[in-house]
């Protein structure tokens, strides 16, 4: 059979397609020949139905993974036409015709329940199909053994039947089995179909809708035919019902044709991806387009970053584990020069649409190549950011450790020494010695104070213990200018609090030492997971962050924790430093 690409009918007339058409036509003529004389319209519709089933089945079988379903669909058509062999009134053909109703209904139901998969999804569906076949076969064979003409009815003359083996009471039991079975199995069919639709995702769901509509139409037609025939009085009305039934059955081949059309439309959506991504698209837009084209909201794109020898995601972070370990469909994309470029991770249900996925991915190729460059830059930025954060954190940890060492070590020793010198001072009588001791004590006092200021500047214990508000209050108390503090009484992450603290310290020190400010104001608040810190003074202004002052350090430190700093310092109009620091 010729390969039809992603769907049916590439337009070519192949031997296989022609053969299917001829086989369908021959079958239609052979089976409908005796019907034609009695009910030409019915024969015509039956013939069209036969050809439609056989040809649609052949076309479906060309599609990847649909060979079994296509054959089963063709078989449905063959069995459907076989029902009418009964009209030949030949014993052999009537025996064949007796098997056909159960066969075409079961084959059709199986295709509808498993499409687009090649197998029935579970035990419930398998049990349903087996029960359906056994029930129908029992009803038809039983009817034949009571001398009934269940299979076809008397259309253009009574068909051949063996001599009745079972009595009329058996016919009544059979009629009950027939009706109860029709209701139970009809309900089960609808339930199984509904479950199937609910479980389908993305592209599969789009293809499934017309098929399910066709299935419901055919099921309703079959059900109404069986009930209607039981109620119908005349042979003419039964023939009319047969006609309606045959027309409704056409819904099934039509449905599969509609599904094929939908697949074509999906390919059109993929073409939109090409059009949409011709330029330099941002990373997340490439992913978004692919998600939309393939109807897979969980689709991910990983980019290969050669420098890192790693796959990174749209956010620039390395992929957690080897891609595809979770059973997802992995489509590798290579660059124009053959190097690996990206991986598209898609829902497992897209495996069946492999060609469509490949088409979409290669359509997005150029954009992916551009995006890979972006991903590489993003990954580097992410790495730099992480390493800056690590350096800052290590620095802060070191400051905390130093402060503690000074506090627990040198400070305690010097204070003990202070006490000892005090004791010496009381013990000596000699005035000259006393003066020497006093001088030593004065020096020691200075040393203690200097050491304390140094330790406090390294890391104020109050910050970790009581939070940003009290710590900044303590800073303000030590400054020679009035500072208005507006700090919410709550805690944030250590990194955010520390960054905010040192920012305010630096800004206030600058205000007091260099800007000649007479007052300053500190405002801290939080919005959207970011801490907003503003320090404003009424000093001389003209501060330049590029001037190599403490301001440069500030910009670095705030940047390292993922924050942003803005300095507004027009000459003569004060300085305003605003920072936003992530605190979530």
């Amino acid at each position: 059979m010729a390969s039809g690409g992603g769907g049916y009918g590439g337009g070519a007339v192949s031997v296989g397609r022609l053969g299917a058409l001829l086989a369908g036509l021959v079958l239609a003529v052979v089976t409908q020949w005796p019907v034609w004389a009695a009910a030409p319209a019915l024969a015509l519709v039956n013939g069209v139905g036969t050809v439609a089933f056989v040809v649609t089945g052949a076309l479906l079988a060309e599609h990847r993974g649909q060979r079994a379903n296509g054959r089963l669909l063709a078989l449905t058509g063959v069995a459907w036409s076989g029902v009418w062999l009964d009209a030949w009134q030949s014993p052999l053909l009537s025996v064949v015709a007796l098997v056909c109703p159960a066969l075409y209904v079961t084959a059709g139901a199986t295709v509808l329940l498993r499409y687009p998969a090649a197998r029935l999804p579970g035990a419930a569906q398998r049990a349903f199909v087996v029960t359906l076949f056994v029930w129908l076969q029992a009803v038809f064979v039983g009817s034949a053994l009571t001398g009934g003409v269940e299979a076809l009815g008397a259309l253009g003359g009574r068909p051949w039947r063996p001599a009745p083996v079972l009595g009329p009471e058996s016919a009544a039991v059979l009629a009950t089995v027939d009706r109860v079975g029709a209701v139970l199995l009809g309900t089960a069919f609808v339930v199984l179909l509904a479950r199937k639709v609910r479980r389908a995702r993305g592209l599969d769901r789009g293809e499934l809708v017309p098929v399910v509509v066709g299935a419901v139409a055919a099921g309703v037609a079959l059900g109404s035919f069986r009930i209607g025939r039981a109620l119908a009085g005349s042979e003419e009305s039964v023939t009319a019902l047969r006609l309606v039934h045959a027309v409704a059955l056409l819904a099934i081949p039509l449905a599969f044709a509609a599904a094929a059309l939908r697949r074509r439309l999906e390919r059109g959506a993929v073409a939109d991806v090409v059009v949409g991504l011709s330029g330099v698209a941002p990373l997340d837009q490439v992913r978004e387009r692919l998600r939309r084209a393939l109807r897979d909201p969980g689709l991910e794109v990983l980019y290969w970053v050669p420098d890192e020898r790693a796959w990174v995601g749209t956010d620039g972070r390395p992929a957690d584990e080897p891609p595809g370990g979770d059973g997802r469909l992995v489509v590798p994309v290579t660059a124009g020069d053959g190097d690996r470029l990206a991986l598209v991770l898609a829902d497992p249900s897209l495996r069946r649409h492999g060609r469509l996925v490949e088409a979409a991915v290669s359509a997005a190729g150029l954009a992916l190549e551009n995006a890979r460059l972006q991903a590489g830059i993003r990954a580097q930025l992410e790495q730099v950011r992480a390493s800056r954060a690590r350096i800052v954190e290590a620095g802060l940890a070191e400051r905390r450790r130093l402060e503690r060492d000074l506090h627990d070590g040198a400070q305690q020793r010097l204070l003990a020494l202070t006490i000892q010198l005090g004791a010496v001072r009381t013990a000596v009588a000699d005035e000259a010695t006393k003066e020497l001791v006093d001088a030593a004590r004065a020096d020691l006092r200075c040393a203690v104070e200097e050491l304390r200021d140094l330790a406090r500047g390294l890391h104020p214990p109050l910050l970790g213990q009581a939070g940003l508000g009290p710590a900044l209050e303590s800073v303000a108390e030590r400054l020679p200018l009035p500072v208005r503090l507006d700090v919410p009484d709550r805690r944030w992450s250590v990194a955010a609090e520390t960054a905010a603290y040192f920012l305010v310290c630096e800004a206030l020190t600058n205000a007091a030492k260099h800007a000649g400010a007479t007052s300053a104001r500190v405002l801290v608040d939080e919005a959207g997971g970011r801490l907003r810190v503003e320090v404003a003074d009424d000093g001389v202004g003209g501060a330049d962050p590029a001037g190599g002052s403490g301001l440069t350090g500030l910009v670095d430190r705030i940047g390292a924790v993922g924050g942003a700093l803005r300095i507004s310092s027009p000459p003569g109009a004060g300085t305003r430093i605003t920072a936003e620091i992530p605190c979530g």
Partner: protein
Amino acid sequence: MRVALADDSALFRSGLAGLLTATGVEVTALAGSGDELLAAVAADLPDAVVLDLRMPPTYTDEGLVVAERLRARYAELAVLVLSTYAESAYAARLLRSGARSVGYLLKDRVEDSAALHDALVRVVAGETVVDPELVVRLLRRQRTTSAVDQLTAREREVLQLMAEGRSNARIGRELYLSPKTVETHIAAVFAKLGLPPSSDDNRRVLAVLTWLRAA
């Protein structure tokens, strides 16, 4: 006077014990942590405890936590907290649990054994003690705003001594003023700062300190 000590530095602890013994204080216990101090006090109740603010296991505000617990358990026990850094937030927190018989001093005060002894005598007598350096710092900052400027030099001296926890009699002795004059000055300070007059010395300290901390 009987005093229990707690500080996690053995060197400082023994130095302080020696200094207090030299000034005639009986040291009843030497503790290396807050828990040890609580046990020692429970076994032999002293007149006062002197404890470091930063002690194991948390090395943050253990001293304040232990002080609050001691004050809740022993109403008559005087508590003097020593701190490496003079933080007004710590002082305010300590005083909020009741200003009677509590003191907050910078650790450097051990340099002057007489001053330390004096502070102990005061807290045991029920007074409040706030480190002068802290008060001076708060006052200096308040001078940058207008309210303290309205005070006379003498009134500022009175305000400072009040903030340190001195009683009226003490203030009079320090400044060589008659009790009547001291009362007049205090009334003037309270009026100018907009504070409600208070006859209770301890509560007065907290009010003054709170006013000083508010910028």
